[in-house]
């Protein structure tokens, strides 16, 4: 492994780890502006993490080792995912280890561990949250897979870096099937990251929440790791979206020296700023769905992604 490859690989991971809370902070700020509230400072998530890391853990009696392991596993799998997704460069040695299908598997692993940990204490809330999370998961996961299938069919590869490379090699045009996939992807992204039509990240109203219900028993460093992991998850999803639909600026194979990497990092930050604002706009414009409407919403995303596949076969022949 040459030094520049190392820089690419580890630089990307470090960038993800440091930028992820900032991105969440930026989105929260945009939301506050749009809703005419006083915005929290941009660094609020970091302060939150620092505070949590310094507190003592209050561990519920009856917690098994699974419960204490889970925050680390969640954080670890999200960091690994960040190492696979080509956010600034496509020549990533670790990306060969797991292609996009394995990436979905990695997300699923994190979800299963989080749900199991939520059931571990045995409170009514934790189990309810786990059940709802798994429900959202089993509907969102196939939708995400179908979105990725669209990209796979276009590029002939399931590895995300190859997908990006294939796009940048081709002419600049919006592929019809990707419009469907794009809509489906945004829907899945909102659902998977506990965003507004499905879940509300800023509420602690007991009856409506999914993600927060699973975390009720976590505190201090465990909670910090989980919060960090969920911000990383949002960051990773955003980067998957960029790789699939807006791959411009990512340093591709062969053209990824130092300047290209800096340029790619700049492009990434620019995309994140725009995307964060758009996310806040979407969230401010929509209302939270009743939980029983969630299957309908996700089924729509799933069908749109499948429709994208069909359109590809329709028009592509």
């Amino acid at each position: 492994m040459s030094p520049i490859t190392m820089v690419r690989q580890f630089g990307e991971v470090l960038l993800a780890i440091t930028l992820a809370p900032l991105f969440v902070g930026w989105t929260a700020q945009c939301r506050a502006w749009l809703q005419s509230r006083t915005a929290p400072p941009l660094a609020q998530p970091y302060r939150m993490l620092r505070k949590l890391f310094h507190k003592d853990v209050a561990l519920a009696a009856g917690a098994t080792p699974l419960f204490r392991m889970t925050p680390y596993i969640l954080f670890g799998s999200m960091v690994l995912a960040a190492a696979i997704i080509p956010s600034i460069a496509t020549d990533l040695p670790f990306a060969r280890v797991a292609d996009a299908i394995a990436l979905i598997g990695l997300f699923a692993t994190a979800r299963v561990f989080q749900s199991l940990a939520a059931m571990d204490i045995g409170t009514a809330f934790g189990t309810m949250g786990a059940r709802r999370e798994m429900m959202v998961g089993f509907l969102a996961e196939p939708a995400l897979l179908m979105v990725l299938f669209n990209a796979f069919l276009l590029s002939g590869s399931t590895a995300l870096p190859s997908v990006v490379d294939a796009y940048s090699a081709g002419p600049l045009s919006i592929n019809p099937s990707l419009t469907f996939a794009g809509v489906a992807f945004v829907m899945v992204l909102l659902a998977e990251n506990a965003r507004i039509p499905i879940d509300n990240p800023s509420t602690h109203l007991e009856l409506t929440m999914i993600h927060e219900a699973m975390l009720l028993e976590y505190s201090a460093r465990h909670l910090a790791l989980i919060e960090w992991a969920s911000s990383l998850k949002l960051f990773n999803y955003a980067c998957i979206g960029f790789a699939l639909f807006l791959p411009w600026g990512i340093a591709t194979h062969g053209a990824d020296g130092g300047w290209a990497l800096l340029l790619a990092a700049g492009a990434l930050i620019g995309k994140l700023i725009v995307f964060g604002a758009a996310l806040a706009l979407v969230e401010s414009l929509s209302a939270k769905l009743r939980i029983f409407r969630a299957p309908e919403y996700l089924a729509t995303a799933f069908l749109l992604a499948v429709l994208g596949l069909l359109v590809h076969l329709l028009l592509g022949s």
Binding site: F53, T64, A102, G105, A108, L145, S157
Partner: protein
């Protein structure tokens, strides 16, 4: 090669007489069963002596299967001077049978060693008799995959059905177990009847019943299709393909857990074997329409099984439905392989077939593991309903930890084995646009979508299974005294769990094994990478995966995070009571039940079920909520057929007058009729 001399000499020795050795070991199983009868009531003798010996024989069979697979030699054949006058028993060992011997041997060894610690005295059938049935069952499964003529195949097949029937009804004092056993026997025989007819068609008018003759028999496309459909019916009934699955959720829970594990993990695979043997080996042509049929049936079974597993509340029944799901996934792979093979795309056919074979192997590991774990739970708590369990991770740490491995594997999560086969299958779906039929081209993405949904549902089901049984607080006070598995059981469970991890981390080894089979059946293998920790079945550019490096990555990152948190922050914690949401009167009964956990599935897929609900009224002093979910196919398909058969047999019953003279008259008239026919 840097093997020491004696290893290579040993391999050569094994290779040359491979089939003889296998036969010897299989006879050893029968022998073990027979000597159990010497002291039928001594649990010590049977359990501590015979079952471990059976496990060792299983390892031997697995080794010989592996030699047959990996040595790449020509198939070995053998004729036993037994059987019908001009049809002695033919045996043959090739890569396909080698693969299934390997599967049976490895998983069977784990189950046998577990069974050695599992059986208790005073539970139904005497231990000696149980041991006899058990070992006959094992031996007959091995003979099924070794048989090389239709007659011997059917003998072994029926022996397998009968011995497993006796195992299912080993607690025959309970009426529902007798009922389940009867249903199983009925379906097994209907399936066997189809197979008999299938072989009748396959011999192609030459009346030669060896498989060799069938390979050469020229069949018209119509007759080939008839034979294929009969095979699909016969093997589908054994495998539990929907709508022929009716017996499976009844019989699997009724049997003792090691037997459930064997039936689900191993016996269903003999149907997969038979399907492959007939479709790819005995029939020399395939049509893409067959592939579509198998694909649709497989996908339907997979989704159906997953949905029902989501709403079931009996832990063994849940696993039985999950078996239907996994069999569906395997048949999906087979269907895809037929489709590709018929369209002359052998590389992709090899990919799909590898996925199916690997999933069969994986399922043998994780499903056996989970069935055995439910056996432990059953022994420790005497409860099968999920609603009465909970919190067993505290009292049964061994079982809980090992079952977690099985749970994650069956949920298809990386880096365990279930993920690898599903990954391969999804890769195979990705290449379906190369099929030159526009309609199929468009239907297949829907297939991939259904598969993805099934896999995700399986994760839901397994979280429910594991979370309700092992996590949370005990729902009943008696659970606090549950005991963990004994040492023999631990060995069995650990063996199977290690298998799940090993195949997941180093799938390349398993792919080599399936590669030998696809080489035999399709003349093509997927791309095998030279490094043992990578798989890239089509090409490194298209897709690659490495379970080992993924696991290493997870361990590294988790380890670094842990150390970093300890260094930069601290590791202090204190124990407190869980947060009670401002309601201090919470009890452990207020946790989500299995019914509650399955509620989203009932809500979303409501039209698949026959549901009966009893809702409490607001003024009830002791409110009760009850829900009963039934298989809709049971009412729509099975009950009408049973009624029709009943009516038919009632009308035939008119003949049964009860007078001896009349019966004699019937016989006499039949005789006269037959003689007139000869005239």
């Amino acid at each position: 090669m840097s093997h020491p001399g004696w290893v290579s000499r040993g391999v050569v020795l094994l290779q040359r007489h491979d089939l003889h050795w296998v036969l010897l070991l299989v006879l050893g199983w029968l022998f073990l069963g027979a000597i159990g009868l010497l002291r039928p009531h001594s649990l010590r003798f049977v359990a501590r002596g015979l079952f471990p010996a059976g496990a060792v024989l299983g390892l031997g069979v697995a080794l010989l299967g592996a030699v047959a697979l990996l040595a790449g030699q020509a198939p070995q054949a053998m004729v036993l001077p037994l059987g019908l006058p001009n049809l002695p028993f033919h045996l043959r060992l090739d890569a396909l049978s080698g693969f299934f011997l390997l599967l049976m041997g490895v998983a069977g060894a784990g189950i046998s060693i577990f069974a050695a610690g599992y059986f208790r005295s005073g539970e139904g059938t005497a231990p000696g008799l149980l041991g006899l049935h058990y070992h006959i069952f094992l031996a007959s499964m091995a003979l099924v995959v070794l048989a090389d003529d239709a007659y011997f195949f059917m003998v072994a097949w029926e022996l397998m059905a009968l011995s497993s029937y006796f195992l299912v009804v080993s607690q025959h004092r309970l009426p529902e177990i007798r009922r389940a056993g009867f249903l199983y026997l009925l379906m097994a025989h209907l399936g066997a009847l189809c197979l008999l007819l299938c072989f009748g068609v396959l011999q192609g008018g030459k009346w030669q019943f060896t498989f060799d003759a069938m390979r050469g028999a020229p069949l018209a496309p119509l007759w080939a299709t008839v034979a294929f459909l009969l095979a699909l019916l016969g093997f589908g009934a054994k495998a539990g393909l929907v709508p022929l699955h009716g017996w499976l959720p009844e019989a699997h829970p009724a049997a003792p857990s090691p037997v459930s594990a064997m039936m689900s993990g191993l016996m269903l695979k003999t149907a997969v074997y038979g399907m492959l043997r007939i479709t790819f080996d005995l029939l020399h042509i395939q049509f893409w329409q067959w592939g579509v049929l198998v694909l649709v049936l497989g996908l339907f079974s997979a989704l159906y099984g997953a949905i029902f597993a989501g709403v079931k509340t009996d832990m063994k029944r849940l696993l039985a439905y999950s078996s239907i799901e996994n069999i569906g996934i395997i048949f999906t792979g087979i269907g895809l392989a037929i489709l590709f093979a018929a369209c002359h795309l052998p590389l992709f056919a090899a990919l799909a077939l590898s996925a199916a074979l690997l999933h069969a192997l994986n399922h043998a590991f994780f499903k056996s593991l989970l069935f055995l774990a439910t056996g432990n739970v059953l022994h420790a708590t005497k409860r099968r309903s999920l609603g009465a369990l909970g919190g067993l991770a505290h009292t049964m740490p061994w079982v809980a930890t090992l079952a977690l491995v099985g749970t994650l594997a069956i949920a298809g999560l990386p880096p365990l084995n279930g993920f690898v086969s599903e990954w391969l299958l999804l890769q195979a779906f990705l290449f379906t646009p190369r099929i030159p039929h526009p309609f199929i081209n468009m239907l297949v993405p829907l297939g991939a979508a259904v598969l993805a949904l099934t896999v995700a549902l399986a994760a839901y089901v397994m979280v429910k299974f594991y979370g309700i049984i092992f996590l949370g607080q005990p729902r009943e006070p008696a659970l606090a005294e549950a005991h963990d598995a004994n040492w023999l059981e631990r060995i069995g469970l650990t063996w199977l769990a290690l298998g799940c991890i090993a195949i997941g981390v180093l799938p390349q080894i398993a792919l080599r094994a399936t590669g030998a089979v696809t080489g035999l059946l399709l003349g093509q293998t997927v791309n095998l990478s030279s490094r043992i920790w990578w798989i890239a079945p089509i090409g490194a550019k298209q897709a690659s995966y490495s379970g080992l490096l993924l696991l290493a990555g997870i361990i590294c990152v988790v380890g670094i995070t842990f150390v970093a948190v300890r260094i930069l922050a601290h590791g202090r914690f204190r124990r407190t009571v869980p947060w009670d949401c401002g309601y201090p009167w919470q009890t452990s009964r207020m946790q989500d039940t299995a019914e509650g956990f399955g509620q989203p599935i009932r809500h979303i897929f409501g039209s698949a079920f026959d549901m009966e609900r009893e809702l409490p009224s607001p003024s009830d002093s002791a409110p009760r909520y009850r829900i009963h979910v039934e298989d809709r196919l049971w009412r729509m398909a099975y009950v009408p057929i049973a009624r029709a058969v009943q009516r038919l047999s009632d009308s035939i019953g008119v003949l049964q007058g009860g007078r001896l003279a009349i019966y004699l008259l019937y016989s006499f008239l039949t005789l006269l009729g037959l003689l007139a026919g000869v005239l």
